[in-house]
């Protein structure tokens, strides 16, 4: 049984869920231990699942034994496996960091009490993300989206300050509206085609008005959740005001969840509409997001807002190659570029938020002006931020570089000079905002300030550093990602 990939699909979902329940039931001081055990089992599940996937190919698990269309099917291919691994690795580093962050001297009892809820909430989020990456049922995907959103909003609110409560409330409302748009789209799909399973929809879809309605509703709903320009307005306050480990989870993983559904929905359900210009519209919004988000990031005076606007910009890249996904010759390259970008951005952005959080704990505020001279005090956090910046600006050698290499390759082969120009311009703008942060870090420190600083613990700086190293190492993973995607994901396009 344990040597079949199908066995591990539900384990990857149930292990963190059961751990979340135990963390809720056990006394709060036990939560980190419970999280560690739950994380270990989930790691084993994700590891076995990915290894067996490489050996045996894509796999399915009919929940309840019914099978689609009556029951719900879980399924894994190379793309889902990559997303599961990403979630596990980034999540583990963030959890290690959170442990150090919460035990940092200076939090009062009430704050500590609130932070204790991080553990069950994170486990809920992990379970929900795994469930999302493994689901093959459009209604079940709605349920996972709800779980992801509620966990993410509650995590955002953990910071407990008025600013963050306002931001979390706005996040909740936007997220809820996005879910309802998505759900209405599901109703149209079911009303027209009578099934909810993605594989059955893929075989059965026709260009009916209902398909267009579903595509419009679901795309808008998921755009809201992914924060694609111009529906990005909720993201900067939420991601910037949350506590650092939460910001890392939100920017690194949560927005990728809704994008993952959008990607699959277009490739496998809405593909008959690929000639309508909708993919070009998404591409255009992505392009504007890159330019607008980068310019906003350059203007910021607060470190975490700068990083949050950088997320707004980088989300644009996920949509930039939408039209090329439907061009037969470029599809594989474009998909590999997008997935590499997801992996690189998740690790680099999480590393950036984590090191910013370490720096912020040390300096006590997050103005960019207060960063002077921290290289001498917290070299590891600063190096982590710098390395993450290298990947965000897509300089070699980094995951960001290899992702943009694939993207440039695909767009130039198809003769899309505009896309190529935006990719290059976005990289330059990113280099500018990264340098705005890195330059003061290396300046002469102000002695009077530096003497009263408490250093961030090694657990924090090391986990930020290891994620940054991962972002750089991904530069050598391009071919591996492509091979992984060749397990069922490349060629998932409905038209053959």
């Amino acid at each position: 049984m344990i040597f079949e990939a199908a066995f591990w699909l539900p384990v990857a979902i149930m292990a963190p869920l059961l751990a979340a329940l135990c963390a809720f039931l056990a006394p709060q001081r036990m939560s980190p231990l419970v999280t560690m055990i739950g994380a270990a089992i989930t790691f084993v599940a994700v590891g076995f699942l990915s290894a067996l996937l490489v050996r045996d190919g894509p796999t399915r698990h009919p929940v309840g034994g019914w099978g689609a269309p009556l029951g719900i099917d879980l399924a894994a291919d190379g793309l889902s496996a990559l997303m599961l691994m990403l979630t596990a690795v980034v999540g583990a580093a963030v959890a290690l960091y959170a442990y150090g962050y919460f035990n940092f001297p200076g939090h009062n009892e009430e704050t500590k009490q609130r932070y204790a809820s991080f553990w069950p909430l994170w486990l809920f989020l992990w379970s929900a993300l795994n469930a999302l990456f493994l689901s093959r049922d459009v209604f079940n995907l709605y349920v996972t989206l709800e779980l992801v959103s509620f966990a993410a909003v509650a995590l955002t609110a953990l910071a407990g300050k008025p600013d963050v409560l306002r931001a979390a409330m706005r996040y909740l409302l936007v997220s809820l509206a996005g879910s309802l748009f998505y759900l209405m789209g599901v109703a149209f799909l079911y009303g027209e085609f009578g099934v909810l399973d993605i594989d059955q929809l893929k075989k059965g879809v026709t260009t009916a008005p209902s398909l267009a309605a579903a595509a419009g509703l679901m795309t808008v709903g998921l755009m809201m959740k992914t924060a694609l320009f111009p529906l990005h307005f909720w993201l900067p306050p939420a991601h910037a005001n949350a506590i650092a480990p939460v910001s890392a989870l939100l920017s690194g993983l949560v927005v990728k969840g809704s994008f993952y559904i959008l990607l699959r929905a277009w490739l496998e359900i809405f593909y008959p509409l690929s000639h309508t210009g909708a993919p070009y519209l998404l591409m255009g919004l992505g392009g504007v997001a890159i330019l607008w988000g980068s310019l906003q990031a350059i203007r910021q005076t607060r470190l975490k807002l700068l990083i949050a606007y950088s997320t707004v910009a980088q989300i644009g890249y996920l949509f930039l190659l939408m039209p090329l996904l439907f061009v037969k010759e470029q599809s594989a390259l474009a998909l590999t570029g997008i997935v590499c970008f997801i992996l690189a951005h998740a690790s680099a952005k999480a590393a950036a938020f984590l090191s910013a959080g370490a720096i912020q704990l040390v300096t006590g505020d997050d103005r960019i002006a207060s960063l002077r001279g921290l290289m001498e005090m917290q070299p590891l956090a600063v190096v982590a931020f710098g390395a993450a910046g290298v990947s965000l600006a897509a300089l070699p050698p980094s995951g960001g570089f290899i992702a943009k290499w694939f993207m440039l390759d695909a767009s130039l082969a198809h003769g899309d000079w505009l896309i190529a120009a935006i990719i290059v311009a976005g990289g330059l703008l990113a280099a500018i905002y990264v340098m705005r942060v890195v330059a003061p870090l290396f300046r002469q420190p102000d002695d009077a300030v530096l003497h009263r600083l408490t250093l961030a613990p090694k657990t924090m700086t090391l986990s930020a550093f290891s994620l940054a190293v991962l972002a750089l190492l991904l530069s050598f993973a391009g071919i591996a990602v492509m091979e992984m995607l060749s397990i069922g994901a490349i060629g998932m396009l409905g038209i053959e």
């Binding site: 149930m14 869920l17 809720f24 309840g64 029951g71 809820s117 309605a213």
Partner: protein, 238 residues
């Protein structure tokens, strides 16, 4: 200051003038609804979709009520995650508002408290009956849970008995029982049969009722605790 903000927001709500931006939003919404309605009118007629299949499979589902079969068997995994959403809501609310914003004082007359005391056992029986009925006819854990939630709100509002502020283990156990029963059944069946939530047809009804029973109590307590909006507390603790 917060009260003033709320007042201002309420006043803003009373403002119903049809300004130009509002007219624009209204027009846009109307157009969207019209377009969606037109699209919905093109649905193929006389198609049973999945309903015939759901009815045909009833003999293997362990229950006779097709809704219960969908919720607890065919798509039981959806319901498992939905029950987890309820628990997540509690974790979230307790994280943000550790102490309830409202508290309760014992009413001046003993009539209400006595009434609620009498009502509680009665309502537990009603909820249990709805749960039992749900296997074959309309009813089930969510309906029973709603009844329990209603009596829970009354129980708290009449200040019959309230735990001290905090998150006692028995309360957490009640809140988590639904998820616990569901996940344990799911994982247990995965290890036994190799399929998540794959009930053996002969035991299906028992498993469904056990899960529903636990879920019903969790749903009821969750609704009551969400009504309080934080750890329960009594007047003297304010």
């Amino acid at each position: 200051m917060q009260t003033r903000d709320i007042d201002r927001a309420l006043q803003a709500d009373d403002d119903t003038r049809l300004t130009r931006p509002r007219l624009f939003v209204l027009a846009l919404t109307t157009a969207l609804v019209a377009a969606l309605a037109t699209a919905a009118l093109t649905f193929p007629a006389n198609v049973g979709r999945l309903a015939p299949l759901a009815i045909d499979s009833l003999p293997r589902s362990g229950v006779l009520n097709p809704v219960t079969a969908v919720l607890l068997n065919y798509r039981g995994y959806d319901t498992l995650l939905e029950v987890a959403v309820l628990l997540l809501a509690i974790v979230g609310v307790w994280a943000i508002a550790p102490r309830a914003r409202i508290w309760f004082k014992t009413p001046d007359t003993p009539v209400l408290a006595t009434f609620v005391r009498l009502l509680l056992p009665l309502m537990i029986v009603v909820a249990g009956y709805m749960l039992w009925l749900g296997a074959d006819e309309p009813g089930g854990a969510f309906q029973g849970g709603a009844v329990l939630g209603g009596v829970g709100v009354l129980w708290v509002a009449a200040a019959v008995w309230l735990p001290h502020a905090g998150r006692p283990f028995w309360l957490r156990l009640l809140l988590g029982a639904g998820v616990a029963a569901f996940v344990i059944a799911a994982v247990g069946l995965l290890l036994l049969t190799g399929g998540l939530l794959q009930y053996p047809p002969e035991q299906a009804k028992t498993v469904i009722l056990v899960i529903e029973g636990a879920a019903m109590f969790s749903i009821g307590v969750t609704l009551a605790v969400l009504f309080i909006g934080g750890y329960p507390r009594r007047e003297e603790e304010k």
